[in-house]
Symmetry: C2
Subunit: 249 residues, 2 copies
């Protein structure tokens, strides 16, 4: 039986999503708990994609196979009871046996959070990026973001250490939200898929435009150059959230 | 020169406020940073009171003396640059030389947070207490809380391992807030001072009333008994915030 689960995690305590030797990762914790539930049998967990160390998720999707006959309603609790508190299972459902969390994903939504407070609250320090020294012009970010919409070669917005060959991706939307109460700026980006560090490099580049270090017009040239060195800095991991993964109905 | 500062801290990583040998505490971090700023001289930091391991603060008050001639506007930044991110200085001001953060405090406000979500968000796990198995009746908590208002011997609501002799305190107000968006219940309590664990024992006892384990009427007897064993369990530390300390103007 194949199971699909939506999970959230606080990335602060993990060396990213994917298993790495001697490191604490989300996948490793999930597989450890499933192994206990399956009395020592190894259960491989497939995620919709990796997230880096420090990156959070509110809607990561995974799948795994299990022969257990646990009632579907009990799966979530059974997993959450054993998992550490920084990973939570939001929902579990049975799914067709050829469903694949990674290959079947048709779209993803990420959120990036900047905090503009003078003093960065200790309760927010791992969950948003502190940028108090600047007064960002969000209208400029919005304007610049229009260049990124649609289908492009996003080589300029991909970390150089990647094995990917195809750099063409489609960005469907980039929205900005001003959160007055918490004094935060949120960027919400949706696309059919993202290259390694792509959201963080987009966030970093748009931020440089917002604070006047780059002009709106430069963005077109950056995109067309297909040269990572032309884009802005990679924005820090702890401002980033994987919010939603879409699949064909 | 005497300085008064308002500070916030995420209690998760601390063994409480007060210095203890070989433990990481808020006071120890503050004194460590002040010692660096004073080129090795020891600077004693006095807080308005201790907070236990795991307890948070958004408005703890401290005082210390310094001969440094740093412009007042720069003190906050000078401290925050050196402090770890889980302690932040919100404000620093010069104050009369006989001001005492502890002895001059005339009142304190604490907040206690329960989270009613089915799944406890990984981002909230250290910042609210998860109580999903129950449907609390907040009206019953409100009704019961009226017994606690005013001046009473609060022995029943004081941890037994205390050296205090006078158990009489005055509670000025206990308010409840329902946070619909986050599905939380907040209790905000203000008084002239609180005994060791008093807020957590009040929170724990009112919670037992909210979920029907104790009746509203029992609270009067609990208070009058002056017997800690009659009250409810001590509510967990990580739901508690020291929000404000008041001083005579």
């Amino acid at each position: 039986m194949r199971l699909k689960a939506i999970i959230s995690y606080d990335g602060s305590g993990f060396s990213g999503y994917q298993v790495q030797p001697e490191k604490r990762t989300v996948q490793q914790e999930l597989e450890r708990v499933l192994c206990i539930m399956h009395k020592g049998d190894i259960v491989k967990v497939i995620g919709s994609g990796r997230t880096d160390a420090g990156v959070h998720a509110t809607g990561q999707v995974i799948h795994f196979d299990s022969p257990l006959t646990i009632p579907m309603d009990n799966w979530r609790t059974a997993l959450n009871v054993q998992l550490p508190g920084d990973i939570r299972i939001s929902s579990v459902e049975q799914i067709r046996n050829d469903f694949h969390a990674r290959y079947d994903a048709t779209g993803k939504t990420y959120r990036y959070i900047w905090s503009l407070n003078e003093v960065h609250s200790p309760f927010e320090r791992n969950y948003s990026v502190h940028v108090d020294r600047y007064k960002p012009n969000v209208e400029l970010m919005k304007e610049a973001s229009l260049y990124l919409l649609g289908t492009h070669d996003f080589s300029s917005f991909c970390a150089s250490n990647t094995s990917v060959k195809d750099f063409v991706r489609t960005v469907h939307s980039i929205k900005f939200e001003m959160k007055k109460e918490s004094n935060q700026v949120h960027m919400v980006i949706n696309g059919n898929g993202f290259l390694y560090n792509m959201v963080r490099i987009i966030a970093g580049t748009l931020w440089e435009i917002a604070i006047g270090q780059k002009s709106v017009g430069e963005l077109r040239g950056i995109l067309e150059s297909c040269d990572r060195s032309k884009a802005g800095k990679t924005a820090p991991a702890h401002g980033l959230y994987l919010e939603k993964v879409e699949y064909k109905p």
